[in-house]
Symmetry: C2
Subunit: 424 residues, 2 copies
């Protein structure tokens, strides 16, 4: 018999409690012993008592759950940084194993948590913290164990992917689609965490800790949201055979350097990620053995995240019984991410210019001075005295691209730099 | 220290030996102890001695490897039914754990092998036997453990997917593309196993043993190859918004019945499987918690299969040390698959008719008598006195569809039934 204590009975907590109850016999057969939800910490006991049929024990004192000597596993589903982080730390100090779906806590405090867990000889399972029902953590840890992951690109925020998909399919503006997404519940009232890519950056920091083998500081990861993406750029992208996605990108270069960044990216429309639409998530990667590989599924929502959390609980139960030693051999240090200026990428640039001879020469000069060379270029007249020029560069460093943009900004005949989007 | 013995040093065997050698230190760190390839059974010792730099011990007597008391894990990479099956059985009787990539042996003899392994208390890991680098076995076993998989559709044969992709993209005939695939090494000299879907059926039988929780007899799985697919059907499919793929399909119905079948299938071109092109494999499924989910990757080839086999070896090494009890709680009985006549599906039918009034009435009558109703229908004159009619039905049982086809075949004005393809 394993006793678990659950912290938080919101959307995911309710899903976990219900699935553990409905499938209890099946799960007992699979893991060889019963799992009992011993107590659940919630804010409002009365509200929750009435919504579960079972004889569950609720408390509004989460510290009582993490300090209960009879509890083996703490399932933390409160979310947010505090008090979740302190409760996890206290539970580990009490020798309890942890299952959590808390991306913010693991992203910011994974280093401390995993090192403490190693010291205490307990396991911390975090499948639900990244990409909901997509089992990227276990896939990287177990199934791709033979691989060096050279590069990884993920669509790991459903809200922004829904917005970009709607913009592309219905030719509608960002702000209009965002408002509708808020009405439909796909975006929060305060959408900052999704739109400005904090959410995706937390998740990427957790993913890279697995593929790079050590932790990174989340603030070192370059982050850029989707709020500046215009319908005009999406249309140009389509014409050129590209799709714009908010991608979380990680690369492990042969020289030993590490890259991690989250930003809107143009990818070839033939790429498997390009057809990942709506609120779906997907993680594509290239491993030295497995080659190109992709996981696709629902990155959020009650039942998909429940799928991940319950899998963690059951696999933890199996691994506890088996005293699995995998955790103790893991390394938990910090490594450095290369600064964004050092990355090399192709760039899409859209700029407005005066509609007069010589402008093309100015662009060529400014780019040439910055060691940026042009792969392809299109010009369209947009009426009045303005022309619009769209170009895609050959791979250049971000530093050189910034230099070119600064030169262009102050050059005669260049009215405005409308967009700058990296191309993978 | 764990000693492994490898049977077979062909394409995959060579990959496994090389990767274990190249990454030996990294793997030792991950699993906490070294792995030693103690001996390798091959047909021609001299040939192999010269192709590996290491001090490896080769033998042409595989029975010496499976009987070696110092060997903990037998990695069977010979392929084919015999002697591979007998060697695996002997190794299990000797108390050895097994890693195998042999789909034919596991498909035909999984029942016997897993029951013997359970009795002997050893583990049998088979990730490499299905879909190469795609970790469908572990994903179903561990990551989706909380789910009932309601339905699953897989593209699990790269050769046929390559052929169908080439036919669709280049508007070329089956036989022409097959010849080219043989030249390029994508299809074997005798392509029967791939083209007639034996390969995919073996793999499906292994997959369903996991999602249904028990074994099935491979001969109960309905099997239909791609050799009758014409470029004309592919073009109609495209016009109607469908893509033709060789799909391995499994369904676990709410009434407790099981469906498993492999045949060319029209799927909506918006479905994630529709854009899985070339030699890539993918497995899409719907679970009661996770919802829609897909794995995508390379289903064959030296390094992708090596990725799966080495992951099995390392995870087995971890699980042996941990005396993982997962295997002992598995159930290994046979369950029955519903016969193909009982399945319900939509159907695409292409038929040639006399170009005369009343033919449409005859088709309507024959379908109506068989309780088959039409969802949509198109007619095209194909010159001479012949018209071509393409129709898609509403969902009907296979038995009723067969009845309708038999009626049509003997009806006046119906010249020929050209194609009958199930639609998902």
């Amino acid at each position: 018999m394993l006793n678990i204590g659950i912290l938080g009975a919101g959307t995911v907590g309710t899903g976990v409690i219900n699935v553990l109850h409905q499938k209890s016999l099946e799960f007992e057969n699979k893991i060889g012993s019963p799992i009992k939800v011993k107590s659940i910490a919630v804010k409002n006991i009365e509200k929750h008592k009435s919504s579960f049929s079972d004889n569950l024990i609720f408390t509004d004192k989460p510290e009582n759950v993490v300090n209960d000597p009879e509890i083996d596993i703490i399932v933390e589903l409160i979310g947010g940084e505090y008090p979740a982080k302190d409760l996890i730390i206290q539970a580990i100090k009490n020798g309890k194993h942890i299952v959590t779906a808390n991306k913010e806590v693991i992203s910011k405090h994974g280093y401390e948590i995993f090192n403490l867990a190693k010291k205490m000889g307990v396991l911390v399972y975090i499948e639900g913290s990244v990409a909901g029902g997509i089992p990227i953590i276990q896939t990287l840890k177990r199934d791709l164990i033979a691989n060096k992951v050279n590069s990884l690109m993920g669509i790991i925020n459903g809200t922004t992917n829904y917005i970009l998909t709607e913009m592309a399919q219905k030719k509608r503006d960002f702000s209009e689609v965002l408002q509708e997404a808020q009405k439909l519940g796909y975006a929060e009232a305060d959408p900052t965490s999704d739109i400005e890519a904090y959410d995706a950056t937390y998740k990427l920091s957790i993913i890279v800790s697995l593929i790079f083998g050590n932790h990174v500081k989340v603030e070192e990861i370059y982050r850029e949201g989707i709020d500046k993406i215009s319908i005009r750029d999406i249309e140009y992208a389509q014409k050129l055979g590209y799709t714009i996605k908010l991608l979380a990108i990680a690369k492990h270069h042969d020289d030993g350097s590490y890259e991690a960044r989250v930003h809107p990216t143009m990818i070839n429309s033939e790429h498997p990620l390009a057809s990942v639409n709506g609120a779906f998530n997907a993680i594509w990667l290239n491993g030295d053995c497995v080659g190109d590989f992709m996981l696709y599924g629902k990155g959020a929502g009650q039942l998909p995240t429940t799928s991940a959390v319950v899998a963690d609980i059951l696999n933890l139960a199996i691994d506890i019984k088996a005293k699995n030693i995998l955790a103790s051999s893991e390394s938990h240090d910090y490594i450095k991410i290369a600064p964004i200026e050092k990355i090399t990428s192709k760039y899409y640039v859209r700029l407005s210019t005066a509609d007069q001879p010589g402008v093309m020469g100015i662009i060529g000069r400014d780019l040439g001075l910055s060691e940026v060379s042009i792969n392809s270029l299109w010009q369209a007249n947009t009426g009045e005295d303005t022309a619009e020029i769209v170009l895609i560069t050959h791979p250049v460093t971000e530093a050189n691209m910034n230099k070119a943009i600064n030169l262009l900004k102050s050059s005669e005949g260049i009215k405005q730099i409308n967009s700058l989007i990296r191309v993978e």
